[in-house]
Symmetry: C2
Subunit: 344 residues, 2 copies
């Protein structure tokens, strides 16, 4: 592999000059010399060595992202497009994404090690939980990071998140427009932050519209098909007069459970009962009827995360302190055929 020395020899200038040309230090070298150097570069096919460059500037131009080991029975709705977009925007900012796992170690130790060894310059977090110890740790060490997902409202850090509340409200509005008044919610248990926000959207919408939230309208469960089945069982056991005509779900997986149970009970989804999911998992469009759902703006989220990180890394280089930025992005309602006007 040719080095900058070879270019210098070939062009008959010093390596300093070559470096200046390569880095577009425009007023440090004359036009003639610039030409000379570029010609030499192309002639011998030189590409600067990233490692040397990084050592000199004590950075890595790498952003760390931890893989989560999604169990097979759970659908990870997010990964694909999010990761692609993240890599894409990182590249336009001159970075690459380095992926890693926790490999049976304490996650915090893995982050620490990656940072201390200079492997990465920053992290993108996801799958955050309430009081996430990883975030707490990164904040203490003032490690540069941005998070896809919130953690603790009192902590000051950069995050982007899907506005679950607004998303569910949007879904509720849609159901109202169709004429639904008796709407139930199949949610997660209280420990989940995202679950809480989505539930909030439901209660907001019902209260704003002055509709009663009857006992049994809210189901709390896990992220599983079974939770959806149980939710539907609960909703159907309500007296006919208040039995829900529509079910809004905290996730697609739960929605599928609701749908499967509804059909087992002989209900016609989209006619007898309307169902809305959350995430727009692949496959959802191929169900019969295709499932209406809320799609997270993953591309936009990735873009915002990288923008924040760029700003952050730029600032910390120039020694400045910034006020943490946060951003909520509203998911898009994908209307399919699992919703219709209520019977009667």
């Amino acid at each position: 592999m040719p080095t900058i020395k070879d270019v210098a020899r070939e062009a008959g200038v010093s390596i300093a000059t070559v470096s200046y040309v390569l880095n577009n230090k425009v007023d440090a070298v004359s036009e003639d010399t610039r030409q000379l150097v570029w010609e030499a570069v192309h002639r011998i096919g030189y590409t600067p060595n990233v490692t040397a460059r990084n050592l000199r500037s004590s950075q890595s131009r790498l952003i760390g992202y931890a893989w989560h080991d999604t169990p097979h029975e759970q659908v990870n709705p997010v990964l694909d497009q999010f990761m692609y977009s993240l890599a894409h925007f990182a590249e336009t900012a001159g970075y690459h994404i380095l992926t890693f796992t926790y490999a049976q170690q304490d996650p915090v130790h893995v982050y620490d090690d990656l940072m201390r060894s200079g492997r990465v310059d920053a992290f993108v977090m996801s799958g955050t939980v309430m009081d996430d110890p990883r975030i707490q740790y990164l904040m203490e060490r003032t490690t540069p990071f941005v998070s896809f997902g919130r953690s603790n409202p009192d902590w000051q850090f950069d995050w982007v998140d899907t506005d679950g509340t607004a998303g569910i409200r949007r879904a509720m509005d849609y159901l109202f427009t169709l004429g639904h008044r008796r709407i139930a919610f199949a949610g997660w248990d209280d420990a989940s932050l995202a679950g809480k926000h989505r539930l909030q959207g439901y209660t907001d919408a019902m209260e704003t519209t002055h509709l009663p939230i009857h006992d049994g309208y809210i189901y709390h469960g896990t992220q599983s098909e079974q939770a959806g089945i149980d939710a539907m069982t609960q909703f159907q056991s309500l007296p006919a007069s208040i039995r829900p005509t529509a079910v809004v779900c905290v996730s697609d997986l739960v929605a599928i459970g609701v749908k499967n149970e509804a059909e087992r009970l002989g209900l016609d989804v989209g006619k007898d009962v309307s169902i809305i999911g959350f995430d727009d998992a692949p496959m959802l469009q191929y169900l019969r009827p295709p499932m209406t759902t809320l799609r997270q703006p993953l591309r936009e989220i990735a873009r915002t995360l990288i923008e924040m990180l760029e700003a952050k890394l730029g600032d910390s280089a120039s020694g400045g302190k910034r006020v943490p930025r946060t951003r909520l992005l509203t998911p898009e309602l994908i209307v399919r055929e699992s919703c219709g006007r209520p019977r009667g």
Copy 2:
């Protein structure tokens, strides 16, 4: 950040000695000194700088993997578990996965650049096609890489692949056991290598069992739900006497199309017609009835790829030439309820 110099000063030895201790050069330093150094390391909290280490040894300990931008209407069945496993096994071998995209450039140029700049030491390829230009290029440049997927039978390179032929044969055997004799195949068009292998499994099985492959038993289409629908339409238009009692599909997405069309026609999947997919995409288990399918041994594939890469990088360091290794792994039949005994 403390450096090796700080450790040396703290321990009262030279940096060379510290380096030897850190790298377990066991017969270069006495037990006492070793103690001294480790204590100093822990006292000041030293972690070796990866970039410096890499520059010195002219490697990056990074393996490149290109993201494919899967369109939203297609399910990417593979990514999640494969990427996790790849990252996992790479780490046990002392590497990390660096992900990148093609960013509207010629893919070949992106690979070239990443390699020439020393960003990565090697690549893991996937989504390979017949006569893949990326593979051709990497072979010419003798860039270290391994491939998940075959390309051109005449090219000599390291690859691992799912044995589609054996997989489909396995599915066919299962259907034979259930009593099916009239079996159709919903496949891709001939340009697809994987599609060809899977079709081969079908024809092999039919011929070995001396069963006729009637005209219209084989459908060629794209990777889409619509292809499945069209396939089923074709199969149902056959005379009742030879109408298939089971359909084996080249992918889960096609299988879903077949299932949806079958149900639209009033058929009871698992009773009137049996269906088998390929890939075990998430969600498939939540269909009603849950879909029988073939699951690729992604973890095993990832492990094998990394093993091959390790061997390759080890060898090229020691100057040796190796004969290319290849490996076919048989997918596992996941039996669910979309298959049953044929009617009558």
